[in-house]
């Protein structure tokens, strides 16, 4: 036993993270339905359990007991592989997310890089799922997803490069440690760059687009493409896509929290920090994402690409330039402190 504490720890974290991802997927659906219900002057699910709290359980049982239909014309390997390719990278990304000072599955020096590497694999899952479905709507959707993700990874990564220049590290926990209270949060760190709030906005918009959330949900635009890349999926095949989508939303919100909103640190110094702060910030961002979804209509693919190439990329490049200039200038002005 004593010989392998690290392996045991990792196993415990693996189980914990999978449960966390699954619970998140289940209860974010519940939250989504409640939020959307109240936005639309309805009350949302209420029949199963108090406040409909057991609804996700019922939905989960339904999905798991449903037959996974594999239509005869699909590519049998790709079709079965795709849902896993969406979900597994999303869960893997959780490995480096610092829930609190010590609650990190694996503190890695290149944590930020790892998250983005896994996030890119996610697109592959969507592409293969759409392609393997042998359905025209799914293929159109897969093509849309890829061009959308390529377009939005650029401003997102430029923003992240800017952040790395400022923080000087890719270790997510160290980034959090640099933001002890609200004035030190990177979203308000005007000494690093006056464009920090804009950078946060760019990052947030990009994470919406990366996770295929409204108003950028072109991949599953139900009024155009039925259900997009998962048109042909049923049962748990669809369920895995769904879990993957929500896990990616949590990852996106977690990264925004870690990079800009001080992670698990408390906003004011007299209240101790901890995982509850991290979750509160993450769920606030997720609530905002839902709020946006139920307020805005969908953009078109052109509108989406225009926004990325003509607005977000120039802004993030400008921010990169300004930050670089500030990094070099500040020591010159204020001395080598």
């Amino acid at each position: 036993m004593n010989a392998h504490p690290e392996i045991l720890r990792l196993l415990a974290f693996l189980a914990g993270l999978i449960i966390f991802a699954a619970l998140n997927a289940a209860y974010l659906v519940w939250l989504e339905r409640k939020v959307c219900g109240h936005i639309q002057r309805r009350i949302g699910p209420k029949e199963v359990g108090p406040f409909g709290l057991l609804q996700p359980l019922a939905d989960g049982i339904k999905l798991m007991t449903k037959q996974v239909l594999v239509p005869p014309q699909v590519d049998p390997v790709l079709f079965r592989l795709a849902p896993a390719l969406v979900l597994i990278p999303a869960i893997m990304s959780f490995v480096v997310i610092p829930f609190s000072a010590n609650l990190v599955a694996r503190e890695i020096n290149i944590g930020l890089l790892l998250v983005f590497a896994f996030a890119s694999v996610n697109v592959l899952g969507l592409l293969l799922g759409g392609w393997g479905s042998a359905n025209k709507y799914a293929v159109i959707s897969a093509a849309r997803c890829v061009s959308q993700n390529v377009a939005y990874e650029i401003p997102m990564l430029i923003t992240v490069i800017t952040m790395v220049m400022i923080t000087g590290t890719m270790n997510l926990n160290e980034i959090v440690l640099q933001q002890p209270d609200i004035s030190q949060w990177y979203v308000f760190r005007f000494t690093a760059s006056p464009l920090m709030p804009v950078a946060f906005l760019v990052f947030f918009i990009c994470s919406l687009a990366e996770t295929n959330r409204a108003p950028f949900d072109l991949g599953e635009a139900e009024s155009e493409l039925i259900a997009g890349f998962h048109t042909e999926y049923s049962g748990m095949g669809f369920g895995l896509f769904f879990m993957g989508e929500y896990a990616n939303i949590v990852i996106g919100a977690s990264l925004a929290t870690v990079l800009f909103l001080g992670g698990w640190q408390s906003p004011v110094s007299f209240i101790p920090g901890g995982w509850w702060w991290f979750l509160a910030k993450v769920y606030f961002l997720i609530f905002t994402i839902m709020w946006i979804r139920w307020t805005y209509p969908r953009t078109t693919l052109w509108g989406l690409l225009n926004l990325s190439w003509k607005v977000l990329i120039p802004i993030s490049l400008l921010n990169l330039l300004v930050t670089g200039g500030m990094l070099k200038l500040m020591p010159l002005i204020f001395g080598a402190g």
């Binding site: 002057r41 635009a221 155009e224 039925i226 805005y296 209509p297 693919l301 509108g303």
Partner: protein, 372 residues
């Protein structure tokens, strides 16, 4: 755009939009030739919900066809009641009491508001915004409650009779309608704030799906589609019928011909319909709601009769040929969306799939009325 697509790229594929597809709101099938996301050609295919309404009309008595009219355009059923009642009244020479005409106008205009509200919600749903649909349904619900108290039905109304209407209003109808109009007046600015001024909506509708006035004339498009292309034609003004000449209302016309223009026409029409209903409530005369000497079995004099009304989607015409018996010899329906849809193939050519669906939504299709 289309020529470029044809010459450079040979990978053109057929995409069957429908007959089951969320955007067609019914069993319409559009056969699309696609080059990537561009539409090379679009061909609406009808026949999935054909019920032979015209033939049914020729096989039953004049009065028995009335319920069928409510099943053509189930969202604006009362206008279709009105069209058929008018043509038979003209054929049989039946005079309608004034109160009945007022009730007809009030209920038809309420029905028009309900139809436009539902269209508004469904159209924004086509554009990916789910929430306005529920708000619109909330308002429409009040109209349906009002109409239910008068007509006994909530959707497929069969309220009009030859010579009047079947039921007088109850005491709650007038205050209820006034309260509803007051409420909707407050809600319309909210809709405009939430949807009309939304940057994404503007980008998706402005200059998208242009339909020229010439195209409207060639295909016989009427209603908000034609009025969005600058054709100032509304049967209520141009060939006044019923008691419409007594009311003061405007016909909204927009010159642009894009999806935004059609959207704005319908939103403005809601306001104008509210004005008509208000004036009609103010002047509602007393008296009977049915003409007194209407024979039980109607046998119009032999002849050819035609009558048009302005339905929520455009000009609805009914032509009946009577041979003096108790059934029509020929019954022909001219439904507005059939003509409005027929221009879709030409208008959608070269468009992106997403924009073409926005265009389809802006035509306000009700499939059972296209496919009678």
């Amino acid at each position: 755009m289309i020529d470029l697509a044809l010459s450079q790229n040979k990978e053109i594929f057929v995409l069957n939009l429908g007959p089951q597809h969320p955007a067609t709101h019914g069993v319409l099938r559009v056969k699309l030739l696609m080059d990537g996301e561009y539409i090379v050609s679009a061909e609406p295919v009808l026949g999935y919900i054909h019920r032979m309404h015209e033939k049914m009309g020729e096989n039953r008595t004049w009065a028995q066809f009335m319920p069928n009219t409510g099943r053509l355009d189930y969202l604006g059923a009362l206008s279709y009641n009105h069209g058929y009642a008018r043509v038979v009244e003209r054929a049989a020479g039946i005079e309608v009491p004034e109160r009945a005409e007022y009730l007809r106008v009030i209920t038809v205009e309420l029905n028009r508001i309900a139809s436009h509200l539902l269209w508004f919600g469904a159209f924004v749903l086509d554009l990916g915004g789910f929430t306005p649909l529920l708000y619109a349904f909330d308002d429409r619900e009040m109209i349906l409650d009002l109409l239910e108290s008068v007509t006994g039905a909530r959707l497929t109304f069969c309220y009009f009779r030859f010579g009047g209407v079947y039921n007088d209003i109850d005491d709650n109808f007038v205050p209820g309608t006034r309260a509803f109009i007051k409420r909707l007046r407050k809600r319309m600015p909210e809709y405009h704030n939430l949807v009309t001024k939304n940057i994404i909506i503007i980008k998706r509708l402005r200059d998208v799906g242009p339909i020229s006035a010439g195209m409207c004339r060639r295909y016989g498009a009427t209603g908000p589609v034609a009025r969005g292309s600058g054709i100032n034609y509304d049967v209520r003004k141009n060939e006044p019928y019923s008691v419409y000449p007594e009311f003061d209302f405007d016909i909204p016309v927009y010159e642009d011909g894009d999806s935004m223009a059609r959207y704005m026409v319908r939103m403005d029409e809601i306001e104008q319909s509210m004005r008509i209903v208000e004036q009609a409530l103010d002047r509602l005369p007393d008296g009977p709601v049915m003409a007194e000497k209407v024979p039980k079995i109607i046998k119009p004099k032999p002849g050819d009769y035609y009558s048009v009304v302005e339905a929520a989607r455009g000009t609805f015409g009914v032509r009946v040929v009577s041979d003096g018996t108790n059934t029509p010899y020929r019954l022909k329906l001219r439904s507005p969306t059939f003509s409005n849809l027929s221009l879709y193939g030409e208008a959608a050519r070269g468009m992106l799939l997403a924009d073409a669906l926005a265009l389809m939504g802006s035509l306000d299709l009700v499939i059972p009325e296209i496919d009678r």
